[in-house]
Symmetry: C2
């Protein structure tokens, strides 16, 4: 099966917005975000409400930047890491938009870009709003331990990014275009350590990356920048090694959003993760670099670990996925 | 915004399969299901693995009936009620298919039909496999109380359907066609009782139903049968009343999957619910009735309550959604 879809009339990015958490606002990409909040509660009485507020504000800001009202939006595609994707659900009902809830773990942003692009290129929508969020404190307490407990983490563990990003996709003219996507297969490589999700997701990123180049026939130097979602330091090193075994060397053109979002001094173990990790880096940093002409051809690979606490407790391995979306400025 | 999309070349149903749980196998629709399991564990050591097995078997059976290999499937769209949609994730990785994970609660089956139809009608897929599952025991312990505790339920509570259904959508010729879909808005009517989800979802069904008829311009007698997802007895009565206030009376043409799946003697309180409720009734019962020529025009409305335990605990109301999909035989 061919996983790549090319768009004759590429969907375009009409506008985008990002809101980052306090730690992300102290990181190297701080200046790229539209807004940085200074407290994980963001003036709400629960972390979950803070996460919803961030996602809502990112969506509203994206619409505002494009001067588009919510009545002009055909579909809202969104998801997050919380059980029942409640951040997305509550933002969807506040916006009262036709809504498709999505879940591909940390690959949800790229899942939403891929599906949203096909809905536009297929002629079913003129404007699609996509959005994702994640929040350190809501994820920690849901997936791991009560944060108050201060459980020590392993070196391979990653830090869930607090933030939200929204993109308004549309048809017609625009500087940033989405000419093609490669939809990732759900795979399982037998890895089972929930404290090393970067490692678990790495072969999925490898699989989709190779499928993308094989199916497009592009030279490996086609893209100016390739960024995986959130493999973080260890996963990224393994990916580089796996590619080297095939004689492929992207050099400094291959990076990872989980590495870029924090500085090594921030004590985040292997790096960042979370649905907002690849979203903040792609939308905040990469889109700006594309708009400023620093790069013109970008391939992002959203990576997701499709496990749950229950499947880990039941001794099961970690299904993984990676979706690739090309974003080009020309 | 127009919520309805019409397909010039309607996607078709290439094949479908259903697996039902023990209680569903004692209900009035038992003879319509491909398989009925006689134990909630289904020869597995956990309920969650049993649910995955049902969904996997439904998917494999649908492919087998159409004589289609998994390599011929372009995309797998699936979801379920469990945290992180793990039933869908584990089936996706077992099938190793390009995968979009979806979550719209009990409306997930109709969400997958709507998205799958657009991917085919848009020319991005020749074959899309959609599947959903739910399981009484996995849902009870995740959303409510340990089943062993035997907590008493309110009369408005619904019984989560155990089962899985899969549909292979395709292009070209086929007896069952999907000529149009109406994508539901996420809405909130201020209802907050998690033991009355049918009641909470009813205004969403009403909203999408009216949008569908308004946008298509169809007479109210256009469809031979209209079935809501899982409003169950109380919600259905309220919907009939809301419609009557607008002078609309569908009579016996309007029914509900949560009512149809069980007999009143089965002690299921208000009726059935769960992602598999509308899926089993639509795919098992309605598709067969369409194929046999008993009816030729069907409109299904998958309804979903987009809450979580956390949002209920935090005193929030219940966001709701309903997606409508027309399925016609001609």
């Amino acid at each position: 099966m061919r996983q790549t879809r090319d768009f004759n009339k590429p969907p375009v990015v009409l506008s985008y917005a990002t809101i980052a958490g306090p730690k992300e606002g102290e990181g190297p990409l701080a200046s790229y975000f539209d807004k940085v909040i200074n407290n994980l509660y963001y003036y709400e009485d629960t972390w979950e409400k803070a996460e919803q507020k961030m996602l809502l504000e990112a969506c509203e800001l994206a619409l505002q930047k494009a001067n588009v009202t919510k009545e002009e939006v055909d579909f809202f595609l969104a998801g997050d890491l919380l059980n029942q994707v409640i951040s997305a659900n509550f933002v969807a009902k506040t916006l009262s938009l036709p809504f498709f809830g999505l879940y591909n773990a940390c690959a949800t942003f790229y899942e939403s870009l891929a599906l949203g692009s096909m809905l536009i290129a297929g002629g079913f929508a003129q404007k699609v709003l996509v959005g994702v969020s994640s929040h350190y404190a809501t994820s920690e307490r849901q997936y791991r331990n009560p944060t108050e407990q201060g459980v020590q983490k392993t070196p391979t563990a990653q830090w869930t990014v607090t933030g939200a990003a929204a993109v308004l996709l549309g048809e017609g003219e625009g500087q940033l275009k989405i000419p093609r996507v490669t939809v990732g297969k759900a795979l399982d490589f037998g890895l089972a350590d929930p404290s090393d999700m970067g490692g678990a997701m790495t072969p999925a990123a490898y699989d989709t990356l190779l499928a993308h180049f094989k199916e497009t026939g592009f030279n490996y130097d086609y893209y100016d920048l390739i960024a995986t979602g959130d493999l973080a330091n260890f996963g990224h090193q393994v990916l580089v090694k796996l590619l080297a075994e095939q004689g492929i060397n992207f050099g400094s053109k291959l990076t990872d959003c989980g590495i870029l979002i924090y500085s090594p001094l921030q004590e985040v173990n292997a790096g960042g993760s979370g649905a907002a990790c690849s979203a903040l880096v792609t939308v905040g940093y990469v889109f700006d670099e594309l708009n400023r002409g620093k790069i013109s051809k970008f391939l992002g690979l959203g990576t997701g670990a499709l496990l749950s606490q229950v499947t880990t407790q039941q001794g099961m391995t970690i299904p993984v996925i990676a979706h690739a979306v090309a974003i080009e400025s020309y």
